[in-house]
């Protein structure tokens, strides 16, 4: 699999896929997309990088262990539901805040953070499985 063409293009493809996965994640609230599908795209990007550059460099590029990323995602999702405690509403009641960012009104919400949590869980879990499988193959 490690042809020159693939090795040269893989980093660009990976970067593009990660960017696209974040785009899919953020448009997910009202349009097709969301954390799960975005996470799958990002995990595929990770898998492609792992195939072209080897599992070791892929793990180093990721900095944190994939399982820790998944755990952090789950934590973020759980905490996003907790914010409604302070508005005296039930767990998981969505909270919205609109901020003015350089003249554009940006809606931030707890469902978005929940979705980012889902994204990280999927990236971490699927990425962990993919890297583990690639590792076995090269032995």
């Amino acid at each position: 699999m490690r042809t020159v063409i693939f090795r040269t293009f893989a980093p660009f493809i990976t970067a593009l896929m990660v960017l696209f996965s974040i785009f899919v994640l953020l448009r997910g609230h009202n349009e097709p997309g969301g954390g799960f599908i975005g996470g799958l795209i990002a995990a595929s990007a990770l898998a492609i990088y792992g195939i072209s550059a080897g599992v070791g460099p892929a793990r180093r590029a990721l900095k944190a262990h994939p399982m820790s990323i998944a755990a952090f995602g789950l934590l973020l999702a759980a905490l996003s539901g907790l914010l409604s405690l302070f508005t005296r509403q039930a767990f998981m009641t969505s909270q919205w805040v609109t901020i003015d960012f350089l003249g554009v009104a940006v809606d931030l919400s707890t469902p978005m953070f929940f979705d980012i949590g889902v994204y990280l869980v999927v990236v971490g879990a699927i990425g962990s499985i993919a890297l583990a499988l690639e590792e076995r193959e090269s032995d």
Binding site: S68, A71, L74, A78, Q89, A90, T93, D107
Partner: protein, 532 residues
């Protein structure tokens, strides 16, 4: 988007009044264990930090569940609907005395196991995630006990099972993989049946909220499809609870994992199945339960008798305890078969007793094996000399599991036998008593072999053989304090003695749980408000 200008009447779809902080107690067990589990997962490589974090969150869980039970006993059933959506559309967490009691006992057992594991699980087991798995398994168990939505309960079952697979394979031995595959396949079939039955129920009634199902089933009466669904639920949860004849997976998987994992599983997992049976058959579909009563009674009697006969036939301590778990399930099923408030209180009390005593017995077995070097009854012996305290503890637990006074196993059996005689089911009462007698033989045999005689098989009468290592308990690092294994056994044994000597409180709580199942007015009112 939030900024839209059209006005909608939100009160049509959502709660608008503020939610009391005390209501958060119903969801806090799941949140606490998820937060604790994820933090343990992130820090799992630091093998001294992760256990402390895990124990801290398990301790919080125990505190939370104590407050939850107190709140439920004070105020009655508590409901919180996720996202403030009105039921039956929002997913409700509805906690009654039954759910809160089991959640509390589960939390105590999990905390004890966490403590016991802090020195019995080696650092590689900790690195592979014992504590994250334990905490996330508690997320599933608490969620299943506290949820008021049947599909949500399925999801918590999955959370529980996935974490339990992780705990089972911890160690990666051939025998563990073998046990996990058996356990996994049977549980996959069981959960699939659960899911299929839930799908059919949704198709039939158009709702998944348990309170809503309860009302709709009572209006529609018994019909063919509902009977089918009830039978599917019975089969699915009987598999989880390890009822005869779908219990072959339990003895073939519970002796393989680390002893503390086996302790939590034996205590907790089968009782989640019993709880699900109570919830679905007794509360959701009482008419179908009445139709099935005869069959459940036969299954119950066969489960307890085959279980205890299996226990008598075993020569491996852990396998023998596995069969005792099964035998206890039979007694709980007997209460479900009878269906009167007294019988169901007996089932609830028995479930609490069984969770405590089975966990403690496995933990004690772990210590016995650590001292004598084997789980084989033929090679155990002379332990009385090594540790009279352990001999005493094991004797208390043995008498409790056999249902002899003055320990916790006595009262639920009294209630079950009393209920059976009142209803005229003499043969069921007889089988409960015969099972109790055979259980005392099975555990008495272990006590005599392991503690009373001087040494392993072949030791001359009156002689004694010194144990390998002089019978000194060495666990974890050399010279480390063994308090972390004695304290959990002490807590559980103390509860077993307490419930034996002071059973009134537990009887009161179980009977509140049972009457809430038979007549769920409080449950319905809690979910749908005063009108229902």
């Amino acid at each position: 988007m939030a900024g839209s200008s059209t006005t909608v009447d939100i009160a049509q779809a959502m709660f608008t009044e503020p939610v009391a902080f005390a209501d958060w107690l119903v969801i806090a067990p799941s949140i606490l264990t998820i937060i604790g589990g994820t933090l343990c997962l992130i820090t799992r490589k630091q093998t001294t930090l992760a256990p402390k974090l895990g124990l801290f969150f398990l301790g919080l869980l125990v505190l939370n569940n104590v407050m939850l039970l107190a709140e439920v006993l004070k105020r009655g059933v508590i409901t919180m609907v996720m996202g403030n959506w009105l039921p039956p559309f929002g997913i409700a967490f509805t906690v009654d005395a039954l759910g809160a009691t089991l959640a509390l006992v589960a939390a105590i057992v999990a905390f004890s196991a966490g403590l016991y594991a802090s020195i019995t699980i080696d650092s590689s087991g900790k690195r592979y995630g014992f504590y994250p798995f334990l905490l996330l398994m508690m997320t599933g168990a608490n969620g299943a006990f506290l949820t008021g939505d049947i599909f949500n309960m399925y999801v918590w079952f999955e959370v529980l099972l996935i974490s339990s697979y992780g705990l089972l394979v911890l160690g990666n031995d051939r025998a563990q993989l073998d046990g996990t595959v058996k356990y996994g396949i049977l549980n996959l079939i069981g959960t699939n049946l659960f899911l299929i039955a839930t799908g059919l129920l949704y198709g039939q009634l158009g709702t998944l909220n348990m309170a809503d199902i309860t009302m709709k089933v009572r209006e529609s009466g018994v019909s063919g499809p509902l009977m089918t669904i009830a039978v599917l639920y019975f089969l699915a949860f009987a598999m989880k609870a390890a009822a005869f004849p779908v219990n072959f997976w339990l003895p073939s998987s519970y002796h393989t994992p680390r002893i503390v994992v086996a302790a939590v599983f034996a205590g907790l997992l089968t009782k989640v199945g019993v709880y699900a049976l109570l919830r679905t058959l007794v509360m959701l579909m009482p008419a179908a339960r009445t139709e099935l009563a005869e069959i459940i009674a036969w299954v119950a009697a066969l489960t307890m008798l085959t279980g205890v006969i299996g226990a008598l036939a075993q020569s491996d301590l852990r396998r023998m305890l596995g069969y005792l778990v099964i035998s206890g399930i039979g007694s709980m099923l007997a209460g479900i078969a009878m269906g009167s408030v007294l019988a169901l209180s007996g089932t609830v009390f028995y479930a609490v007793h069984s969770i405590l005593v089975m966990t403690a017995l496995y933990m004690a077995a772990g210590l016995m094996a650590a001292m004598a070097g084997s789980y084989d009854l033929r090679r155990l012996g002379g332990l009385y000399g090594a540790s009279p305290v352990l001999a005493g503890v094991f004797l208390v637990l043995a008498l409790a599991v056999a249902g002899l006074p003055p320990f916790s196993g006595f009262w639920p059996k009294v209630m079950l036998v009393d209920a059976a005689l009142t209803l005229g089911w003499n043969w069921l009462a007889a089988s409960i008593l015969v099972t109790g007698f055979l259980t005392s033989l099975a555990v008495g045999r272990v006590w005599i072999y392991a503690f009373w005689r001087g040494g392993p098989e072949g030791t001359v009468d009156g002689g004694s053989v010194s144990l390998p290592g002089g019978g000194v308990l060495t666990l974890g690092a050399q010279g480390q304090s063994t308090a972390a294994v004695w304290v959990p056994i002490g807590i559980l044994t103390a509860l077993v003695i307490l419930f034996g000597l002071q059973p009134e409180w537990m009887m009161e709580v179980s009977s509140r749980g049972a009457s809430g199942l038979v007549d769920p007015v409080g449950y319905l009112r809690s979910v749908f408000g005063g009108g229902a």
